[in-house]
């Protein structure tokens, strides 16, 4: 049902429920009250009639005798054409006279001196009966007798409905008023929500400016949350825009080289020149593609919103996997890549980026003249060590080469991004990347030092 999912519907539902309950209770009370009032009014008639009858009871021939004046019963038959019954019975409950043998309650002591009222079903008729216990005045014997008077309920019911009708109009009026007020209140309370929706809907989808809207406290919190999200999105977008700028700049240069080389080759006719040009174009395009990938990695790293999903990883597995992935490439380039793993596992929290970091470091060593690269694992603290026998990096350059686009050595092949990416990934893992001289003299040793496992 749709209403259940709307705030308006939900509020309306929860507010209407008590209102309906209250209305129902009021109705029930009005019904009961009307009945009491109607009974009360008509019971007075029963009382009067029974008294009138009791006064007519005499003793004749040692028997009770009743000479009933018609007026005594007429007062019981109102406009509603009720049927009226009476009976006179002696102390033992024997019927003496009357126009009906009305039943008497088995326990009549309660009626002594007063009047007992009760509702009875008699020969298919719903009757209200009044029973009066009385004595003959002035007779020593003091014999008591019961006068029972009953009439059908038409008059009572008519009065009751009339009373109820009056009450009902009042209750309905109140209910209507309550519902109208409720609807107006709800609409007024939810109006800021409509304004917020309208403000969001009419925004230019390209803008990430904060929402400036006066709202009640609960919605102001929502607005602030939304503005927080927008500001984070602004940061991410600024980051992306910077990347696109950097990337287009970085990529345009080698593409210009490729284009120039091809154009030049097309003007020449010697096949050996074409071949030379094609070889250059091939290697430049490979480097350009690698540069594009590295730029992408760097942007991901620089993304302030990126949080790596860290899972426990064995550094030995990590090193072996990297050797497996890059062995062929290194082997074809005449580089001996190997691992130096430990027998027992060394667990750190890491994600897939760690492989990318190792890929960049292996690639870096391979490009800068190493002939032997070894990935090592050490403990206390957990460390990954990449050692090569290349020319190494002078100590004063160790920090500089970690900067993006810094070309540490006089090379024309590198992008100056590999070490920066590896460093960025290490930072994302809470690890530190440091450069040093390897034990083999003028070669490079890169160490990624992880924090000691906290468990």
């Amino acid at each position: 049902m749709k209403a259940a999912h709307s705030l308006y519907g939900r509020l309306l539902g929860w507010l209407t429920l008590p209102l309906l309950t209250l209305g129902a209770l009021l109705l029930l009370q009005a019904w009961l009250e009307a009945r009491t009032t109607a009974d009360h009014a008509y019971d007075r008639l029963l009382e009067a009639a029974s008294l009138a009858i009791a006064e007519q009871v005499q003793r004749q021939d040692d028997r009770l005798w009743l000479d009933l004046p018609p007026a005594a019963l007429e007062m019981l038959a109102g406009d509603a054409q009720e049927r009226v019954f009476y009976s006179l019975s002696d102390q033992q409950g024997r019927h003496i006279t009357g126009n009906a043998r009305l039943p008497l309650p088995s326990d009549r002591s309660a009626a002594d001196g007063g009047l007992l009222y009760r509702d009875i079903d008699w020969q298919g008729l719903r009757l209200r009966q009044g029973i009066r216990r009385s004595r003959l005045e002035g007779w020593q014997s003091g014999e008591s007798f019961d006068v029972s008077v009953a009439h059908t309920r038409e008059g009572r019911d008519a009065l009751r409905f009339e009373l109820l009708r009056g009450n009902l109009a009042g209750i309905l009026g109140m209910g209507m008023l309550a519902v109208v007020t409720l609807l107006m209140a709800l609409r007024a309370a939810l109006r800021p929500l409509t304004r917020l929706r309208h403000a969001i809907r009419t925004r230019d989808p390209r803008t990430l400016a904060p929402l400036d809207l006066d709202l009640p406290r609960e919605l102001a919190e929502l607005r602030e949350t939304l503005n927080g999200l927008l500001s984070r999105m602004r940061r991410v977008r600024a980051n992306q825009e910077r990347f696109i700028g950097d990337a287009s700049h970085q990529l345009r240069t080698p593409l210009a080289g490729i284009s120039a080389r091809a154009e030049l080759a097309l003007r020449q006719t010697q096949p050996e020149r074409w071949r030379a040009a094609l070889e250059t174009i091939h290697s430049t395009s490979e480097n350009t593609a690698r540069l594009a990938m590295q730029l992408l990695s760097l942007t991901r790293l620089a993304n302030p919103e990126y949080r790596p999903e860290l899972i426990p990883v064995d550094l030995n597995d990590c090193a072996r996997q990297a050797v497996r992935d890059h062995w062929m490439t290194c082997h074809q380039a005449g580089v001996d890549l190997g691992a130096d793993c430990l027998a027992s596992p060394v667990h750190v929290a890491a994600d897939w980026q760690l492989q990318e970091s190792l890929a960049n470091l292996i690639d870096n060593s391979r490009r800068y003249g190493a002939s032997r690269i070894t990935l090592g694992v050490m403990t206390h603290p957990p460390r990954l060590v990449i050692e090569d026998d290349g020319p190494g990096i002078p100590a004063d350059q160790h920090l500089l080469v970690l900067r993006p686009f810094h070309r540490g050595r006089d090379d024309h092949e590198g992008s100056g991004l590999g070490l920066a990416i590896a460093d960025g990934i290490a930072r994302n893992h809470g690890a530190r990347l440091s450069l040093g001289d390897s034990a083999m003299g003028s070669s490079l040793r890169v160490e990624i030092r992880f924090p000691e496992a906290s468990q």
Partner: protein
């Protein structure tokens, strides 16, 4: 062998078709994910290897792979993609890809991977590398067509290396697959490898050591 190339970039596809057809394969080329889905919908697709690009128009490569693996866990799939990140590679391998090449790749590397995948998933009973041939059912080797008898352990070792020719095989995996059940230290494996190496014609088959990892068998060094 029947290969299916699903790649939307015309320039790259043309080069790959030329390369693979030149290598003696029958190659069928599709350039979007939807037709690939339809083509591979039946289990009787008759393809021996699928080269699948991830970034396809319409249905993406990973979805094609997922749908294929629902009814066909066997046919090897080599993913080719410009999405270079290891993250995508992990997703691809999780979905049941057998290997992965990030664009750009060298054609040599592609050829090597295709060869390795076809060898590993070969339904024939014979595996070969250069002059060496193995009858999988009898584990009998031949070298240049002549029987090449080996002691049982070296025989199993060579069979395992041949099955994975062109890729490094971990020592632990060798121990598990070639000496299954036998307690075998790293040193013992080294001894068998050393003996095996001496028997192989070094100028045509190389059994290389991958330091700290294991060994690799390579033809035509």
């Amino acid at each position: 062998m029947k290969l299916l190339l699903v790649e939307d970039d015309a320039l790259l596809a043309d080069s790959l078709l030329e390369l693979l057809r030149g290598g003696g394969h029958r190659v069928e080329h599709l350039n979007d994910g939807d037709t690939a889905l339809a083509r591979l919908a039946s289990a009787e697709h008759g393809v021996d290897l699928i080269l699948l690009d991830l970034n396809l128009p319409g249905t993406g490569g990973l979805e094609v792979l997922e749908a294929l693996r629902q009814h066909d866990p066997e046919t090897p799939v080599l993913i080719l993609t410009a999405r270079g990140a290891v993250e995508d590679r992990v997703r691809g391998l999780d979905l049941g890809a057998d290997d992965y090449l990030g664009k750009p790749f060298s054609l040599d590397e592609l050829e090597a991977r295709v060869r390795a995948l076809l060898r590993r998933h070969s339904r024939t009973t014979r595996l070969s590398l250069g002059p060496l041939e193995l009858d999988v059912t009898t584990l009998g080797f031949t070298l240049d067509g002549d029987p090449f008898p080996l002691p049982p352990r070296e025989q199993r070792l060579l069979a395992c290396l041949l099955r994975h020719a062109g890729e490094p095989v971990d020592k632990s995996r060798l121990a598990e697959q070639a000496f299954s059940g036998e307690p075998m230290g790293d040193n013992a494996i080294e001894v068998y490898v050393h003996r095996l190496r001496k028997r192989l014609p070094a100028e045509r088959l190389a059994l290389r050591t991958v330091r700290g990892l294991g060994y690799l068998l390579e033809g035509d060094p």
